[in-house]
C-alpha cells in the first residue's frame, strides 16, 4: 500500500531528505571539484615525496622538523578539540548535541585522518611504518618502546579507531531510517548493509545509548593523554625551548581552541548551505561562538603564564623563551597571539556573533593563529643551534610542503562534502527524541 507522507508533521524529515535527494545543486559540485582537485594535488605531492624522498622538503640542520610536525600537531589539535567537544555534548546531554554532535564527530575523524598522514610520511622510509607495531618479525628485534615515536603510533591509531567507531555506532539508527526511506536501488542496499540490520528494538536502544555514553567518557582521557603524548615528544628532546613541562598544557588548550573554531565554522557553513535552521538555530551558532571566545580567553591566560614563568625561570629556560618572543620567529609568535587571542574578542558583541562574515573571519583567525603558533614552536625552537655560526638560518618550506598542507585541507573538505551529501549531518533519532519529549507533559 502506498502511503502518503505528511511531511510537515514528521520529525527529522528535513534532515532525512538531504542525503536522499537525487540532485544536490551546482554549488556542492563546484565545491567538491575544488576540494577534489586539492586532494589530487595531495596525491601528487605524496607520490613525488615517496619517489624522491624527504629531500624534497626544506628540512636541513638545524631544522630537522619543519612543516611536517607543524601540520601534524595542528591537525591533531583540531581533531582533539572537536572530539572533546562532541564527547562533552553527549555526556552533558546538552541540547546542542542533537544539532552539532554528528558533524563534530565527523570533523574529528577527518582531521585525525589528515593528522595521521604526517608522522608516516615524515619517516625516511614511510612504507616501513608498520615496524612500529610489535608483530613478531623474522629479524627478531622488537620496537624500541622507550622511544616517544611509538607513543605517537599508539595515540594516532587509537584516535582513528575510537573516533570512527563512535561516529559509526551513532550513525547506525539513522542509516536504518535512510534504508527504510530510500527508493529501492543501489543506495538503499548500501544503507541497508551499513545499518547492520538495525530494527529499533528498545533493548537495542538501551545498549546503544549506554555504549555511546561509555565511549564518550573514554574520549575525555583519550584526547588529553593523546595531546600530551604529542607534547611529550617535544618535551623529551633536549631542545631548550621544548624541554619544558608547560608543553602538554599549551598543546591541549590551543588544540581545543582550534577544534572549537572548526566546529563553529562548520556550523555556520552547514546551516547556510543545507538550510538546517530548524535544527541548527541562531542560538546554537551563538553558543559555539561563545565557546570559542571562552577557549581563546584560556589560551590568552596560558600564553601570559608562559611569558611570565618562562622569563622568571633560570637562564636555561628564560633565554629560549626570550628568543621565541624576540628572535627570528618572533613575528610569527606575536601574530599567533594576536590572531588567536585578540581578533576573536569581537565576539563579545552579540551583533557580531550573529554576523556570518564576522563569525567566519573569527574562526579562520583562530585556526591560522594556532597554525602559526605551531610553526613558531617547531621552527623557532630549533633555530637557535648550539653553534652560533648556525644562528641566522631560516626555515624555507618547499612547494611540496605547501602542497601537503593545502592538500590535506582539500582532503578534509572533500570528505566533509561527501559526508554532508550522503549521510545525515544532524542526528535524526535525537531530533525525534527531542520532539517527542517536548510534546509530553
Amino acid at each position: 500500500m502506498a502511503r502518503t507522507r505528511s511531511t510537515a508533521s514528521r520529525p527529522a524529515d528535513q534532515v532525512a531528505r538531504i542525503p536522499l535527494r537525487s540532485e544536490f545543486g551546482i554549488t556542492w559540485k563546484l565545491a567538491l571539484a575544488a576540494a577534489g582537485a586539492l586532494t589530487l594535488l595531495l596525491a601528487g605531492a605524496l607520490g613525488h615525496l615517496f619517489v624522491a624522498g624527504v629531500g624534497v622538503w626544506g628540512n636541513s640542520v638545524p631544522f630537522v622538523w619543519g612543516f611536517d610536525l607543524t601540520n601534524y600537531v595542528w591537525w591533531i589539535g583540531i581533531a582533539n578539540g572537536t572530539s572533546l567537544f562532541a564527547a562533552i555534548l553527549v555526556l552533558r546531554r546538552h541540547s546542542l548535541r542533537t544539532s552539532i554532535n554528528r558533524f563534530a564527530e565527523a570533523l574529528a575523524l577527518f582531521a585525525v585522518i589528515c593528522a595521521g598522514l604526517f608522522p608516516i610520511i615524515h619517516l625516511g622510509r614511510p612504507f616501513l611504518f608498520y615496524w612500529l607495531f610489535p608483530y613478531p618479525p623474522t629479524f627478531q628485534v622488537w620496537p624500541q618502546f622507550r622511544s616517544p615515536l611509538t607513543w605517537d603510533f599508539w595515540a594516532i591509531s587509537t584516535h582513528v579507531i575510537v573516533t570512527s567507531l563512535l561516529w559509526y555506532v551513532g550513525l547506525i539508527p539513522d542509516l536504518a531510517t535512510l534504508r527504510d526511506r530510500a527508493q529501492a536501488g543501489i543506495r538503499k542496499r548500501l544503507y541497508a548493509v551499513f545499518a547492520l540490520g538495525w530494527r529499533g528494538s528498545v533493548r537495542h536502544w538501551a545498549y546503544h545509548q549506554r555504549a555511546h555514553r561509555l565511549v564518550a567518557v573514554l574520549v575525555l582521557p583519550l584526547v588529553v593523554v593523546m595531546q600530551s603524548a604529542v607534547a611529550f615528544e617535544f618535551a623529551s628532546t633536549l631542545v631548550p625551548d621544548w624541554h619544558n613541562t608547560r608543553q602538554p598544557l599549551h598543546f591541549v588548550v590551543t588544540g581545543l581552541a582550534s577544534g572549537l573554531a572548526t566546529v563553529h565554522l562548520a556550523t555556520v557553513g552547514l546551516t547556510a548551505a543545507l538550510r538546517l535552521d530548524r535544527y541548527i538555530t541562531p542560538k546554537d551558532i551563538d553558543l559555539t561562538a561563545k565557546l570559542m571566545l571562552v577557549s581563546v580567553l584560556v589560551v590568552g591566560y596560558v600564553y601570559a603564564g608562559e611569558v611570565l614563568v618562562g622569563l622568571l625561570a633560570g637562564d636555561t629556560s628564560a633565554i629560549p623563551s626570550a628568543m621565541r618572543m624576540s628572535g627570528g620567529y618572533a613575528p610569527m609568535f606575536w601574530v599567533a597571539v594576536a590572531a588567536t587571542c585578540v581578533v576573536p574578542q569581537i565576539l563579545w558583541w552579540r551583533r557580531w556573533r550573529r554576523n556570518v562574515a564576522v563569525a567566519l573571519l573569527a574562526g579562520l583567525s583562530v585556526l591560522a593563529g594556532v597554525w602559526l603558533d605551531r610553526l613558531s614552536i617547531v621552527a623557532g625552537g630549533i633555530q637557535r643551534e648550539y653553534l652560533p655560526a648556525m644562528w641566522d638560518r631560516t626555515y624555507v618550506p618547499t612547494g611540496n610542503e605547501w602542497a601537503l598542507l593545502v592538500g590535506t585541507l582539500g582532503l578534509l573538505m572533500a570528505l566533509f562534502l561527501l559526508f554532508a551529501r550522503y549521510l545525515p549531518v544532524v542526528s535524526m533519532f535525537e531530533a525525534r527524541h527531542e520532539e517527542a519529549e517536548g510534546e509530553m507533559p
Partner: protein, 177 residues
C-alpha cells in the same frame, strides 16, 4: 516454520498508547514482549527491566587488560625477551612505558564496548522476520511496535487481542515466518 506459532505484532502511532499496551500486557502476566521504537525510550527499558550493566563491567575489565597487557608486553619485549640497551639506560625504565599503556587502556575498552554492544544486540544481521511486517519501515520514523511471542499468544489468543485492542492500535498482525 518447524511448528512454532507466529508472533503477534501491534502497531501504534503514539508513545502513550504503546506505554498503555505494555503496562496492561505485563499486568496480565504475559512474557516475551519486544518493543520497537524510532528513538531510545529509557522509561520503557526501565519498565521491562533491561540491564546494561554488563557493558560497564566489560569496559572496566577491558581497560585493565588493555593497559596492564600493554605495559607488560613492552616491558617483556624490551627488557626480557630481547634486552635493548639504549645508551646504558635501565632496561626497566617504566615511565617511558606509561603513555602507550594509558592509550591502549582506552582503545581496548572503547572497542570492546562498541563491538560488544553490537554482539549483545545480535547485529550485524542480514534479515529478521519483523522486516516482513507491512509498514514496519516506519519503526525507524514515527511508529511504535509491540511484538508478543507466538508461544504466549497461543495460550490465550482472544484475551491478548482484546488487551491490545483497548489501546487503539493501528493494526494487529501476525509476523510472517
Amino acid at each position: 516454520m518447524n511448528g512454532r506459532p507466529p508472533d503477534l505484532i501491534a502497531e501504534f502511532d503514539e508513545a502513550e498508547r504503546l506505554l498503555g499496551a505494555i503496562r496492561s500486557t505485563r499486568d496480565a502476566g504475559i512474557r516475551g514482549l519486544e518493543i520497537y521504537a524510532p528513538y531510545p525510550m529509557a522509561d520503557v527499558a526501565n519498565l521491562l527491566g533491561y540491564r546494561t550493566t554488563v557493558l560497564w563491567v566489560a569496559a572496566v575489565a577491558a581497560a585493565i587488560v588493555g593497559a596492564g597487557g600493554t605495559f607488560y608486553l613492552q616491558f617483556w619485549m624490551n627488557g626480557i625477551d630481547y634486552p635493548l640497551n639504549v645508551g646504558g639506560r635501565p632496561l626497566g625504565s617504566w615511565p617511558a612505558l606509561v603513555p602507550a599503556s594509558l592509550i591502549v587502556g582506552i582503545l581496548v575498552p572503547a572497542a570492546a564496548t562498541l563491538i560488544g554492544m553490537l554482539m549483545l544486540c545480535g547485529l550485524p544481521r542480514l534479515h529478521h522476520p519483523v522486516f516482513d511486517v507491512p509498514g514496519f519501515e516506519r519503526a525507524s520514523e514515527d511508529r511504535f511496535f509491540l511484538l508478543i511471542d507466538g508461544r504466549e499468544v497461543e495460550k490465550e489468543p482472544a484475551r491478548i487481542l482484546a488487551l491490545l485492542g483497548q489501546h487503539g492500535p493501528l493494526a494487529i498482525r501476525e509476523v510472517p515466518s
